[in-house]
């Protein structure tokens, strides 16, 4: 029922057309007159102080106009490959033999890898702004564009949120080409296809959809491409925008598209038959489709010894469930069903609650809120104050509150245990769902006891089983049940024991 709400209408009218005056200018072609072209482009780039116009006279005869964006071009390479030949007559046959610039390009007189000729003004403006150098000549209605991009980019380093003990430490960066190269070097096969799109009317961001032909699920691929094609927006700044636009159920707390910053995870997902979406200017790549159980797997599941990994999976599962159910469970048992707790524990809890003025439910909600606040504060803190706040949080809130008789001790233990348990969930975006739903379950358990909690759990289960991620049921292989994939999901067997490829979504 939420499918209709998929496309958000962000209609801020900032399109190129209405930005600067006359529409007709930018759809035309360039003219033969260099002066006219010069004035047109100068008008387009008025007040853009980082766009440089450079005029040169070649041998006193030709006037050549070069336009580029400062900071985005490799000036040195350009000087060597284009300026020098032009100015110092380094061309083997001499300039006189060539009649036009386009002829020069055709005959490959400039040793540049990536070149292009453009005739439309609008297109020329776009290419200048993406870091390419435009060269215009008198008496020619074409511009010669050389791709000599050189921009500041971050070095390839380990992503902070997905660190592993063992395994590669490379992470994606903000440059699309670097990212595609990181994937390509792990899968040097011609079947690894990379289809590119441009999204965003103003930002014109490059998007690459990668998949391995032959392994990928064709219907899912079609669906992904269709949804990307349907995105109509002016700006894309992060892959989150795309994720929101192409998700099946945007109102679900559970993410249906996986995101990662590690190329090894992306490569392994590609080999499983999934589709990876890379975007320029962001290191987060999207992987579709996703299931619930992918959210509970970590990167180093396949890099460590399998016995240990299986034990850790059990621990991870228990803690994930604890992160969701523990507060609700405690409140429900101690206020509605005291008979279910063994005698000694019950007496301890009752004694601890003697001094506390709040009812269990209110206390738990309060402490959970404080804990979430602490977490959020921890994200924004500068490094110097970080340890101080953790000490303050632990000592003041935990210890002193218990001593003062405001909070009972079991609640503090409970809340910290839940907080730690929620960090065991390997995928950070998946953990959001658990943290949100914990509150819902808590309120249900506090007002309706075991019945409320059962209803809450049923509602979550029904929701999770119903939603699909690009046609793949979210809770598979448990529901619908596929035995082979389920066994791989539960127990990680050594590689020499697996015959068939791992699960497809």
């Amino acid at each position: 029922m939420f499918r209709r709400l998929r496309k958000p209408k962000m209609s801020v009218d900032l399109s190129l057309k209405t930005l600067q005056g006359d529409q007709s200018n930018f759809n035309n072609s360039l003219t033969n007159n260099l002066q006219e072209n010069y004035h047109l482009l100068k008008q387009a780039f008025a007040m853009c102080s980082d766009v440089v116009f450079r005029e040169i006279s070649v041998q006193g005869q030709m006037k050549v106009l070069m336009i580029y964006t400062d900071g985005m071009v490799d000036a040195h390479a350009f000087e060597q490959t284009v300026l020098k030949p032009l100015l110092y007559d380094g061309l083997p046959q001499g300039l006189g033999k060539i009649n036009s610039l386009s002829q020069a390009c055709e005959l490959e007189y400039f040793s540049i890898l990536d070149t292009k000729t453009i005739t439309k003004t609008g297109e020329l403006i776009q290419t200048i702004l993406t870091g390419q150098i435009a060269i215009l000549v008198e008496h020619e209605a074409t511009a010669f564009v050389a791709n000599l991009k050189k921009m500041e980019k971050r070095a390839v380093e380990e992503p902070k949120l997905e660190a592993t003990i063992r395994g590669p430490r490379e992470g994606f960066t903000e440059s699309l080409r670097v990212n595609t190269s990181l994937i390509r070097k792990r899968i040097p096969s011609h079947k690894l296809k990379m289809e590119s799109f441009k999204i965003g009317k103003i930002t014109q961001t490059d998007l690459v959809v990668t998949y391995i032909e032959g392994i990928v699920n064709v219907s899912v691929l079609k669906e992904v491409k269709k949804r990307i094609g349907q995105i109509q927006t002016d700006e894309i700044l992060d892959s989150e925008f795309i994720e929101e636009c192409i998700e099946d159920v945007p109102f679900s707390p559970f993410p249906q598209i996986q995101n990662t910053e590690r190329p090894d995870i992306a490569a392994s997902c590609l080999l499983e038959g999934k589709i990876v979406i890379l975007m320029d200017t962001t290191p987060c790549v999207l992987i579709a489709p996703m299931t619930f159980w992918v959210g509970l797997q970590a990167a180093d599941d396949y890099y460590d010894r399998f016995l240990y990994v299986n034990a850790m999976r059990i621990v991870r599962f228990i803690f994930s469930m604890a992160a969701l159910f523990l507060p609700a469970f405690y409140v429900m048992l101690t206020t509605y069903h005291q008979g279910m707790i063994p005698q000694a524990l019950m007496i301890s809890i009752a004694s601890a609650r003697e001094n506390s003025p709040f009812p269990s439910a209110i206390e738990t909600v309060l402490m959970e809120l404080i804990f979430e606040g602490l977490q959020e504060a921890g994200l924004r803190l500068p490094n110097q104050i970080g340890p101080l706040v953790s000490i303050v949080g632990a000592l003041v809130i935990g210890e002193a509150a218990v001593q003062a008789g405001i909070i009972s001790a079991p609640i503090v233990i409970l809340v910290s245990a839940t907080g730690i348990a929620s960090y065991v969930i390997p995928r950070y975006s998946f953990g959001y769902a658990f943290r949100l739903l914990r509150f819902v379950l808590l309120i249900l358990a506090a007002s309706l006891g075991l019945f409320g909690m059962a209803v809450g759990v049923m509602a979550i289960l029904i929701h999770v089983v119903r939603i699909q991620s690009f046609g793949v049921p979210y809770f598979s292989p448990v529901a619908p049940r596929v035995w082979k994939q389920m066994i791989d999901m539960i127990a990680r067997v050594p590689r020499w024991m697996t015959n068939s490829r791992r699960s497809n979504g």
Partner: protein, 384 residues
Amino acid sequence: MLVRVTILILLLTLMATGLTGCWDLTEPNQLFYIMGSGIDKSDDGKIELSLQVPLPNQQGSNQGKGGGNPKQFVVVSGKGKNIFDAASHIVEKSSRKLFGGHRFVVVINEEVAKQGFTQWLDELIRHPDNNTRARLFIVKGITAKGFLETQYKVEKYSSLSAYQASTLIGYNNLLYEFQRDINNPVNYTILPVIESVTNNKEYEYKMHSIAILNKEHKLMTYMKDREATSALWAAGKLHHTFITHYISQGDGTISVDLRKIQRQVKLNIKGRVPSIHIKLSGKGIYTENNTNLDLLSPSVKESVTKEMSKRIQDDVRVVFDKVQKKYKSDIFGFGNEIARKHPDKWNNFKKNWDETFSKMDVTVEVNLSIQGGGLIGSGPKIAK
């Protein structure tokens, strides 16, 4: 439109949980957790119900049980026509609700037991919160209230110590098992007894006897020590036991610790009087050897086991004779076996079962299987 409807539904649900929920929310510190209940006879036909309830210890960061022996429980009691009536009188004196889900024991004074007490068990089974795995005891030599009020030296609550002791002696009677037994066709039942032994003004308790209840569930008689063990074993209710006997071969006593105790009943109901053959078996180890026999050698083991079995057989034989002739009550459950396996024939026996039982031919066979003897075969040589 759809979003609005969804939000509306969510808001309504939220309000509904606030309005209709929480009606039976009880904080853990608003309850009295009943550890043990005691039933006494009180004047003018009423019964007195006593409840042992733990005190919440007001310790925040102090650890440990208090230095001396501060009392960690309190006993509240009330009189009434039945359990619920008495409980309602207790509530008049107490500040919290009563909660019976954690009950350890139910203790019944022998006076009450002599007059029949099973009608008082109704409330303990009826309420869904109640714990039917509580253990049932009969108290002798002191009132139930006195027993609950005693401060035990080792455990925090006397009901807890009774609960744990009954596991050690090998026979415990759970409330729901008792309730099942009294509904059997032959409903003689056995209950363990807590006997108080006054010792220098401090109460001490022993659990060494059992009480036999007759058909109306009134206390009939007691049986002590070895008789009790044999009776329980023949009835099939014993879990484990320790037996010490004089072994003539070695001219000394030998003790065994038997763990896996079983009873098999073979019925032979041809004719007007049935005959029964019982096979009692037990597996255990030798725990003490006061003879010169080497218990590690297989031949010695075999002969000693045989003699031990014979002695136990004699004990059980004695018990059978006593119960059959003197009490004429089928506490061993033979009638129930017949009723289960041959219900049509049981109809013939039903009417005069007591008479039939007293005339029945019962043979006993005891098979012990003693597996180990510890580290040594025979102890230090004994001078003769």
